[in-house]
Each structure stands twice: as C-alpha cells, then as structure tokens.
C-alpha cells in the first residue's frame, strides 16, 4: 500500500489561556491519502480547525504541539524550521478559510494577491505571475478575469471572493488543500457552485482535499472518507458511504438522527443528543462524550477508549455501544 500523503499520529495540542491550559487536541491520529477528499466533521470546539492549523504550523503564540507528530510526504512538520514550513505552506499545502473577506488584503488588488504565491514559490517573474493569475481566475470561473485583476476585494461578492481564495490555493498546484468551513458564510446556491468547483479542480490536479465542516449534507455530497471529532479527539472514521449506512459511535449516531432532512418525516420530534458540547478547559474524565451518551458504562468514565478498527477501514473509539 502507498504511504499516505499526510499522516498525523497521536497529536496533542495545548493552548495557554487566561482560564488555564486548554487541551484542544488529545491524541489525534489521521491519514490523508493521495487524491482523496477527507471531511472532518464536528461541532464548535471539537478541534477540527485546530487540527488544520497545526498541520500548517499556524497555532500562534499561545498554542503548541505537546505530543505526537505530523508527517507530510514522509517529512516531519512538527520539528521543521519556520523557513522550511514557509516553503511547504502555500506551495505544497494550501488553506482556504471560512471568511473570504478577512482572508484577503483589502488594500491590494486581486491580481497582486493571486500572483504573489506564484512569484514567491514558483520562481516566475512578476509579469509572468500576473499573467498566470489571470488564467487562474478564469479557471475558477470569474467572468472577465483579465479585466478584474486590478479590482480590490470589496468589489467582489462573497462567492467571488471565495473563488479568488480557491485560485490562490491552487496557484502552486499543491498536493494538499485544506478548506476550513469554505462555504459556511455563503448562500446555499453559491455553496453548491463553490464546492463543485473545488472538488472538480482538485480531482483534475490529483490533489488531496480536506474539508472541515459541521454540515453532514456537504460531507455526503463531496467526501470519500469522514473523520468525526468530539472534544478534541477523533471518535470515528470510515468511508462516507459506510459511515452514513452504518454509524458506530453513539455521537455519530446521535448527530445523524438529530438533523432534519429533505426526505425525513416532517413535524416529528427530532432525536436529540442531551446536554451541551464539552468545555475544553474542563473536559469530562474518560470518554468525554460519556455525560451525553445513552449507553455510558462505568468504564467510560474512567478511561479513554482508543480508536479501533471494528470493520475493515472503519474505526471508532468506544467501549461498548453495539450499533
């Protein structure tokens, strides 16, 4: 079997805050294979964005990796120098954020911003880079792309700005693109267009795509494989088809049952997960889902379940629930 493109093993991340030490990630292991689309699903505070930021080395001053390793194309990123990370970031791994307005520089033209990574990473002259930028904007279906190179971000609509972000991410033909809630701020008709574009372009480049989202519909439509996160840990991973047909972790089951769908029975009571998502600075002992779990046993309060393969390529971290 081929080595995975990205391999995260037993990663723990801590943040120092006024309220004390917050463990945002607790032993996360995850692999992304070449050419696949992986979705990371979870609610706020589950650690899905922190996972992405630690891959890029963008945890900031207050956060740090306290254990585990991240390997990208066979190379460890945790101990890499800042300079080397910069080399990889934008060139081999690109990131698309949720809010395209705050991710673009308001005082630089779109053309300059898209050309910058090309000039920076691909040793092109500035003139060639600008020319390339125009082609990229055409690729992401921006009308009159050449004329719009001189426009500023505020002259673009939300969907157009997200297209620009995608163009920038693709500029260096990265092997891995991480999209953190790329369409949460967009209207649903625009969301569909942006996600199809992203999916098609990454397929053409044979890049891997990691989509971070809370929307189980988006996952079903675009992902090959899914990782479900809860309280800074991965609780279940499987192929998308397998996960929806045969969810095995009580949290995944609860999540699937709690969303209204377009084909379900309208007006019926929704099944809910009782209680609230956990507070990361004060996580419950053992399995952090146990206070909300209808199947919790004494064991669940004492020790943390490990991720185990219960069906081929289907992993879950749970002591006892029989799905």
């Amino acid at each position: 079997m081929m080595d995975p493109l990205l391999s995260i093993s037993n990663l723990s991340v801590n943040f120092k805050t006024e309220r004390g030490n917050v463990q945002a990630l607790d032993g996360v292991s995850l692999e992304v294979n070449e050419g696949e689309t992986l979705a990371i699903v979870g609610e706020s505070g589950s650690g899905k964005s922190v996972t992405a930021l630690s891959v890029l080395g963008l945890l900031g001053d207050s956060g740090g990796v306290s254990g585990g390793d991240i390997e990208f194309a066979g190379e460890s990123l945790v101990n890499a120098s800042d300079e080397h990370r910069r080399e990889i970031r934008g060139n081999q791994i690109a990131m698309i954020f949720q809010e395209p307005m705050s991710s673009l520089n308001p005082v630089l033209t779109i053309g300059k911003q898209v050309a910058e990574p090309i000039w920076q990473h691909r040793n092109k002259s500035w003139k060639d880079a600008i020319c390339e930028a125009g082609k990229l904007l055409e690729l992401v279906s921006i009308p009159d792309a050449q004329e719009r190179l001189g426009d500023y971000p505020h002259q673009f609509s939300g969907g157009m700005r997200q297209r620009v972000m995608i163009a920038m991410a693709l500029a260096c033909q990265p092997k891995l693109i991480i999209a953190d809630e790329p369409t949460t701020a967009l209207d649903v008709t625009v969301q569909a267009q942006i996600l199809s574009l992203l999916k098609n372009l990454t397929t053409e480049l044979n890049s891997s795509l990691v989509i971070i989202t809370h929307d189980l519909g988006v996952v079903a439509r675009y992902a090959n494989r899914v990782a479900v996160m809860y309280g800074g840990r991965i609780v279940e991973t499987a192929s998308a088809a397998e996960l929806y047909r045969n969810p095995q972790h009580p949290y995944t089951v609860g999540l699937m049952n709690s969303i209204p769908t377009l084909h379900g029975k309208p007006g019926a009571r929704l099944n809910t997960i009782i209680g609230q998502p956990p507070d990361l600075s004060n996580l419950p002992s053992g399995c952090s889902f146990h206070p909300r779990c209808p199947f919790a046993k004494p064991q669940c309060m004492q020790s943390k379940p490990k991720l185990e393969e219960i069906f081929p390529n289907h992993f879950r971290a749970c002591f006892g629930y029989e799905g």
């Binding site: 008709t189 569909a192 267009q193 088809a241 377009l262 007006g267 009571r269 929704l270």
Partner: protein, 325 residues
Amino acid sequence: MKADNIIEVRDLKVHFPITEGLLRRQVGILPAVDGVSFDILRGETFSLVGESGCGKSTTALSVLKMQPVTSGTITFNNEDITHHSASQMRPIRRKVQMVYQDPYGSLNPRMKVGSIIGEPLRVHGMAGDKEKYNARIRELMQVVGLMTDMADRYPHEFSGGQRQRICIARAIALDPELIICDEAVSALDVSIQAQVINLLMDLQERLGLTYLFIAHDLSVVRHISNRVAVMYLGRIVEIADRDTLFSQPKHPYTQALLSAVPEADPELEASRQEPLIIGEVPSVRNPPSGCRFHPRCSQSLERCKTQVPMHQTSGSTVLACHLYD
C-alpha cells in the same frame, strides 16, 4: 380579513433611501421589499425562505412596525396597524414577540437571567407583586427547560443553546399570539439545534402559538413549517403548503434552491443531479428588470426580461412565474 388569519400583509413595500455625501443627499432607492403579500393562519408555522438580501428579515421587522413601511397594508387581528404610532403599537407588541439569530447579542450581559426573562412583564406593567413575578419567571424557565436555580446567573455563564432558551422564555413571557423567529436556530450546533427546534414545536402545541419562521436552511424549514413562502430579491416567487412546495416545487428558483441543498446521505447524493443554478444573487440596488430571477433562470423566456410576472393563486399555491401563465 378572514377569521382564521392572524396577519394579512398586502402589497408591502419597504424602500430605503440611498444617500451620498456630507449632506446625505438622496441618490436612489433600495427596494428591499417590493410588493409582498401573504396571510398567516392562526396556529400555523409560516416560513419565509430565501438567500441573503431577499428581504425576509425586513419583511418580518415591518410586521412588527420596527421598520418604516413605504406602502401597503398590514392587518393584525382585524386591526389595520400600517399607520399606528409607537403608543398605538404597544398593545400589539405584547402579542407579537421576536427571537433573533444571535443569542449572544440579544441578551444584556449585565442583567441577570431572571431579570431578562421578566423584563417584558415589567415593561408592560404586568409584573404584579414580587411573589407572583418570581413565580412566573420560574414557570417560564421550567417551560423552556432551564433550571430555575439559574435565575441569578448572568448570560455569559450559559452556552449558546441555553441562551436561545432564555430568549424564547422572554418571548413567551407575555403570552403572545405570534412569535417571529428570525434565523432562531441558525447559529446553533447541530445537536443543540435539534433541541431548540423540538422546544419551539412543543411550545406551539402547548400555548397555541403562531410562528413566522425566517430561515435559510431548507431542511429545518421543511421540518417545522405548515406553509412556506420563497422570496427572491424583495419579492415572493412562490407560496405553497409544505408538502407541495418540497415535493413539487414550481418556480425555477424554488427548484434551484432545493437542488442546491446537500442531503446527509451519500447514496442519495450520488443519484442526484448537479444543482440547477448559476451565478449569484445580484445587488438589490439595481435589481434586474422584469422577473428578477431571469438572469439566473435556466428556463427564462423573452418576456421574463421585460414583464414582471403577476402573482397567480390556485388553491393554496401562489406563484409568480411566466412559465405558468
């Protein structure tokens, strides 16, 4: 006005002035809501859906007269409230309450939760004696599923879902007839959203409430509504009862909207066609001529570019589209 109707809105227009320069000279108008008509039946959940800028929130605010109305009429319980003054609106506001999207922004951080929930009672002079007032607050907290001993805490001590429960408790404090929920569950996490949707539906049954529900998440809308109106750029394009709208959407925009919603089922998704829509919602400032949807419509006809489609009623369905002329 029909006896079953709690609200009737006729040809409502809300136009905002666009001003420029130091002297705020008016240079144009922004037709945020442009000729909207609908009825809400007593006891039902009526939803307004559409993408950002379609005027759904502005319509809702006008119903409460929190927004100056340019023209049209709004009738509430047989009373024409279109030109009511602020003091004339006070008794109406007791009967129409609002729950907003952001449970962080809509609670005063310096007030205790009990006092927040009791505020409408105090404002409307219905607090009564201390004992009765406190009992009512405890009762309201129980009804929405909050522990009564939390009344002395501040909003920051509550999670997003609990805060939305506080907002709901405040909204039902005066026994209103109509509650306007403006994206009331949109900001909540999936598992919490389900809890709040259940709560809203329980309360409707127990208290006989009518909801005007504003949302962009069509799965939620389908779950909670009896009837749905779809808005696009300040106009209603289709009104139908829930099952008709979701199983046989007629207007091309409704069809496009439904095709764009991803379903949480990979097998179903694999068999679905690609979304039918192109482009983005144009600016309300310069809306397209004729049918405002025509530049994005895959089935547009020549006359869609010039003629505004009229609203046609057949049974309980209202439709504005030249394809069905």
